[in-house]
Amino acid sequence: MQTAFTLLIFPGLGFIVLCAWLFDWLDRRIIARFQGRVGPPWYQPVADFIKLLAKEDILSTGINPALSTALPVLSLASVLTVSLYIPVARTAPVSFEGDLIVVLFLLSIPALAYFLAGWISGGVYGILGANRSLLQYFSYEVPFLMALSGPAILGNSWRIAQIAQQQVGTTWNLALQPLGFILAVVGLIGKLKRDPLDIPKAKSEVVGGSLTEYSGRKLALWHLAMDMQTVLGIFLLINLFLGGTSASPLWGGLGFVLKALGIVLLLSTASVLYARLRIDQLANLGWRVLAPLALMQLAATIWMGG
């Protein structure tokens, strides 16, 4: 019974979906306030989701129906399994040595599913969006992994819960590895295809990217998977860099919420400030700037953590 609760309600499905909608609403609201606008009401993500569920689901000819429905479900499933390993209130439903690597692998499945969705959609914009999402995947993934392995080396363990545990009370990894945190945030922006790096789904260049042909329920699943990925990315960063949930229940919970809102604010300001980069600029930024920095960061942690 207890595992059913943790699976379905608290750190599991219910909590993550609610957080996804809350963060999505917060993000759109903050961006609107930056631009001098009012921004959508609180129930907007819920209304969008229900409306999309009730919309007709057009399947354009030439798309293999089974695969095109399987992809959003696959990416949703992989994102949900990630929520098992990330400790929210000091307890992670499942935690074992090396779950950080499993989480990183599971987080990259939606990116590949997005690529495949564009590839099978057959439309010109779909293929173009798919090519770009693959190009983008290669340019942000390596610095992202290196940045996240920094804290693991420092805490010399690959278990997220343990890494978070070590930071409670002592200095956060953010203080020890500020560069690693920045690289991780940039990698997260790339993975979530958020505004400065939303090249695969750029409205003005490739209409809808891989999702141009999707409508109705499948589109709702895609959006939900994207939002949940945002939530879990933020929780992952909190546990690795900002010390996870600290000891006392009241202070720990509040601290966790504040840290999460801080990162959402950070992501929103990034998307308001910068114009979208070109795909070759991103690749060149990824390999000429981010990767060497990540290497330097790793060398410093190994030499320091040792």
Binding site: G36, L134, E205, V272, A275, R276, L277, Q281
Partner: protein, 362 residues
Amino acid sequence: MKSDKMIIPIGPQHPLLKEPIAFTLTVEGERVMEAGMRMGYVHRGIERLAQERSYVQTIHLVERVCGICSHVHATTYCQGVEALLGLEIPPRAQYLRALLCELERIHSHLLWLGVLGKNLGLDTIFMYAWRDREIVLDIMEDLSGGRVSHAINVIGGVRSDVDEAHCDEILRQLDLLTEPLARLVGLVEHERTLKARTQNVGHLSLEQIRRYCVVGPVARASGLDVDLRRDMPKAPYTDLSFKVITHTAGDVWARTLVRMQEAVESVRLCREILAQLPDGPISVKAKRRVPPGEVVSRAEAPRGELIYYIRSDGSEKPARLKIRTPTLTTLITLPEQLREVNMADVPAVLSGVDLCIACADR
């Protein structure tokens, strides 16, 4: 990734284009090899319609050639007909027309900046530019009653007048506009990612500009020092002092700078016009029948040189009305600009030339 040729339609319906025009880009990998273009989606046969309407009705037709620069079209048309009639319109009317022309230039350039920002993924500039543009629209609405199509022109002068209190109100709103406009210009000049997306993109050399007879800010950004307000000055511009802004880089970034500095210059010009506003009547009675003759009337629209050729055969209806809008010249250079361009730069190039398809298709 298969790297054979792919045909990408930037079709009549595309978020990049406000209006329908069909580009077909043959792309290899990420590089555009060839750009084809099909116009005519917005062709309403205005020149044909004008032959079936009287001179007065044609004013309303001509104002709807393009929603952004409707006043300049009406002004050029009325100046042509007044030249045919041999009418000398009162100086106050000329000043009021010039005032609205300059306001329309500011609103057109701010609108363009917003669209450029939106196409490059920086929605903030779109929101800020269009929010400040609302001030200009309010001024135009107070002046003529209409936000976008003003219908302030009549043959022989202007329809609505401006009294003393109204002038101060406009000056106050202009002051309200200068500070955000200066902030926008500063933002555009120092925004690194915007500069990265627009520098040496869609480059046009001065030689190409001369060969393709390109006009307007696109030409001035490549160093062509031509501005009809100074080279063929009509009434108010003779005693207004303003400088023509040119750059030499000739890419989308130089065009941004030219347009933004022109907007700032136009705000200053509006103040000067209001300061020297002569008093007197605002319109002169015009006969319905126009004596036979032909005239070419030119004006400087926000996008460049606008030509009206009007031929009258003494009846109430114009025998022939030819409109040549500035966007046509930039459309000619587009296939040349788009060749060898990275696919991700296409939005920057397309929004850099400030396309107004309704103008081009007539």
